[in-house]
């Protein structure tokens, strides 16, 4: 009990909390994330050089992630979590561009809001800004290939990217904290019960909100979307 009084009250955050991942894991996830950040910087540079007018749109998808990750929403499990908002940017600018923008969002929350953490930044960036956008991007491409309607591709991309972010968080925690009996799988089931189940309704919400914002952008920003080859010229 004394421990809880002495320890600073950690803020509610849905990412891995500061200090709650052993140093070895912090470094490993950090190192694993670096190449994606670098690829993202190059990818953003290339996009902006080729299509300078896409800058505004880039700021908008970053802002979308900023808004959504600030909204802590109640869920069916009786606890709260927040969406990530990285799916939209991954569809428009590619997955690694969102690694950079997601990193900025996480850094802001870690430094100013004691949310997530500086030591866990690598691990949190990996789940929210590497795995999430990659899943979104792949989902979008697969549904498009299958000639599914665009709204469905966007909805599934955003929702699955959101959900898999938290599955990844559960995997990261289960790897660092395997149960004494049963090991990794038992821990994984436990963390999935906390993070992933909470996230299901939020993922659906994120999917719907992403479709709404995409439709608005498609209605007024056709030129940019054609630049980025998200909409074809004749459409």
């Amino acid at each position: 009990m004394l421990m809880f009084i002495l320890l600073p009250q950690a803020a509610w955050a849905m990412h891995i909390m500061e200090g709650f991942l052993p140093p070895g894991w912090c470094i490993s996830w950090g190192v694993l994330t670096i190449p994606f950040v670098l690829a993202g910087v190059f990818s953003i540079q290339k996009t902006i050089n080729e299509h300078p007018r896409a800058k505004m749109l880039l700021a908008m998808v970053g802002a979308f992630a900023f808004v959504l990750s600030a909204l802590k929403i109640p869920s069916v499990t009786g606890s709260c979590s927040h969406p990530t908002g990285v799916g939209l940017g991954a569809i428009l600018f590619g997955p690694t561009a969102m690694t950079v923008l997601g990193l900025i969002v996480l850094l802001f929350q870690a430094v100013l809001l004691a949310h997530g953490g500086i030591t866990t930044l690598g691990a949190n960036t990996f789940s929210m800004a590497v795995v999430g956008p990659l899943v979104s991007f792949a989902t979008y491409k697969i549904v498009q290939q299958a000639k599914g309607p665009q709204w469905l591709a966007i909805f599934l991309a955003a929702a699955l990217g959101d959900l898999l972010t938290y599955v990844m968080t559960s995997i990261q925690l289960a790897l660092a904290f395997p149960a004494e009996t049963g090991g990794f799988m038992v821990s994984l089931a436990k963390f999935m019960g906390i993070f992933a189940v909470t996230q299901i309704p939020l993922a659906i919400s994120e999917g719907i909100l992403t479709v709404l914002v995409f439709n608005a952008i498609a209605a007024y920003g056709k030129d940019e979307l054609q630049d980025l080859k998200v909409l074809s010229k004749e459409a």
Binding site: M14, L57, F177
Partner: protein
């Protein structure tokens, strides 16, 4: 936007609101704390000896200040998002006027 488009969007927003509000009624006794607080508890259950080895450098002094910073984050984000959207709308109107 066409009338059916408006209705469709309103319906979608209603679904999002329902998804947020329904848990408040089905989980009457829940605290609605953060999922990470529960993760912290789970970590302690798995490894009772684990001590966080690093603490946040700056922490919001209270829940009020924390919510201030969160609303600021959301406000900045939606500000940029809708500035951009407004810019695009204006540009489109201008283009359409130029065509006529």
């Amino acid at each position: 936007m066409s009338m059916t488009g408006v209705i469709k969007n309103l319906l979608l927003i209603a679904i999002v609101i329902a998804l947020i509000v329904i848990p408040l009624f089905t989980q009457k006794d829940a605290e609605f704390g953060g999922a990470d607080g529960e993760a912290k508890q789970a970590i302690t259950e798995i490894d009772a000896d684990y001590n966080p080895w690093f603490s946040p450098l700056i922490e919001p002094k209270s829940g009020e200040i924390e919510s201030l910073l969160f609303s600021l984050q959301a406000a900045i984000g939606s500000g940029i998002l809708f500035y951009g959207l407004g810019h695009m709308m204006g540009r489109k109107k201008k283009e359409e006027a130029a065509k006529q």
